[in-house]
Symmetry: C2
Subunit: 322 residues, 2 copies
């Protein structure tokens, strides 16, 4: 069995590669070429949960096991921790154990990368609301999928902001300009792409009509049914609402709520995978484009299988005789 | 994170210890001192399935992930393969990955060991039907929980029998007499305890009235709803039908069928955990005693947590920085 740590994953996989791999996974999804049993959420205590997400795709059984512990926000422990397990689909053989926290972060960013590349790869300005670990990876995905030259980040704590910027420079090895702003409206005005990665229960973007013209909004956070990041205004001039997984209609407040309130109609919700499969072009008018990702086990299994094979080929990782 | 292989488990845990640990787990069950979310079975192909069994007990989240591939019967791959994962219940931290196949084999045998010790620890003769890996571990449990001096095993292939006996001698380091028999009635007549560990869909014990007087029957195999090991005769003079888990009434053919056909009444089915908790004595009349184990995630989590702590204490296992 092969063990892949955070370092091993980073050595095996570039963000650009991850975006290409996830684009392949989108096509698997569009072609229904996978089996994805229901994922289960088990309450451990209060809001702390154990998530179990299986998927069978190609030659592997992928299983993501993640603990999501909001109670860790008050300690030094990460909120999300976990593993991705791979087994041979043909024989059941355990093949690999992969750091699930890092793989999840890279995968989630790569999903956004696919969307940014598809909808607005010429964008030169990107705004970010939510400067946690996921925000960092989202910026790396923006670097790999667009022509970004200036990044605007929203953050109240200047100390945290400084640390975030330094870390981004180290990881991305880029000298892209990063400008912290304290006003979200300014951030949106200056950015062609706006990414939100918060766990907010109420909209984190301004309710200003016309503000979002010609822009791409990528909603990454607020993945639960009681959470919301996107404002009502956004839906006023929307042609379509792009999402990555059918499951989102049942699980995600940013999709459930707009549907329930009639801001968006069921037939306006379009799977990005179907656009990719159809070889379609991104819309060309000035209406805002909104993409929301809720992700799914298929992505984790697919990219896990890819990293496993790549690492094996490169001789990366630690062997363990079970 | 600590990784525990087959060898590490065997170094950390004796069968006698395993029996004591599982007896503790029975008391946890009786006291309802655990949380056990529903286990899920996902079909991979035909009869090949992925089993996911979570349980929260004491300070750990235990998760057993096992593939059960009957299709491997035609190849050299084991039918059951898997892992037990442990996370810190308080923080979500991944703590350990343990060889799930070996831990399952030991645990299943230890469950029988608890029953044999409780119902008939003075037994000097044990008969076994089903000489696979599980049969081997059952005999080791019998050695640790009874006064067994002679073992009768039923097997048609003398070559396989010879190999099985040699292996038992090596592992058990005992010179207990083992006698292969070709007649099941003879096996039952000669044995005070009879253990069945098959995947049969029809009874593997003879339908002879009075044959089971004064005997303890331990049913370990045929864990699915369409499987059956135990004969109707067995239920004729039964006081109680002892089982290890409520879940068995829904999942196990050897419990479902006798209930449905009226051979046994719902109120005759008794949890072994309740006897242990109540400090009760084993029945003293001559009627057969029947114990059927279907097991549950609680046992895996509990013994997994024990092995993890013991191995850590002894410095056994391989550390892995995730």
């Amino acid at each position: 069995m092969l063990l892949l740590s955070e370092k091993d994953i980073k050595k095996s996989l570039s963000m650009e590669e991850a975006i290409n791999v996830i684009e392949e996974a989108f096509l698997k999804y569009a072609n229904n070429d996978f089996v994805m049993p229901a994922r289960t959420f088990s309450k451990v205590k209060d809001e702390d949960t154990l998530l179990i997400m299986p998927c069978f795709v190609d030659d592997c059984i992928g299983l993501k096991v993640v603990t999501s512990y909001p109670s860790n926000n008050t300690t030094n422990n990460p909120v999300t921790q976990g593993l991705v397990l791979l087994n041979n689909r043909e024989t059941g053989d355990p093949l690999a154990i992969i750091n699930g926290s890092v793989l999840t972060a890279i995968k989630t960013a790569a999903v956004s990368g696919v969307a940014m590349r598809f909808f607005m790869k010429e964008a030169e300005t990107v705004g970010l609301i939510g400067t946690g670990l996921q925000g960092m990876y989202q910026l790396l995905a923006a670097v790999s999928s667009t022509s970004v030259k200036t990044i605007y980040i929203f953050n109240r704590s200047s100390e945290k902001t400084e640390k975030f910027i330094q870390e981004f420079r180290t990881i991305s090895k880029s000298d892209i300009e990063i400008i912290p702003v304290l006003d979200k409206t300014e951030l949106v005005r200056n950015s062609q792409i706006i990414i939100t990665t918060t766990t907010s229960v109420s909209p984190v973007l301004p309710e200003i009509s016309g503000l979002y013209e010609n822009k791409l909004i990528v909603g990454v956070g607020s993945y639960k049914s009681n959470m919301r990041e996107l404002p009502q205004t956004l839906f006023e001039d929307l042609d379509y609402y792009y999402i990555d997984s059918e499951q989102g209609k049942k699980e995600c407040g940013d999709i459930i709520d707009p549907l329930k309130r009639g801001w968006v109609k069921e037939n306006q919700i379009v799977l990005l995978s179907d656009l990719l499969k159809g070889g379609l072009k991104a819309p060309q008018n000035t209406n805002p484009i909104v993409f929301k990702t809720v992700s799914m086990a298929l992505f984790d299994a697919y990219i896990g299988n890819y990293v496993f094979k790549k690492a094996k080929e490169l001789g990366i990782g630690q062997e363990f005789k079970l």
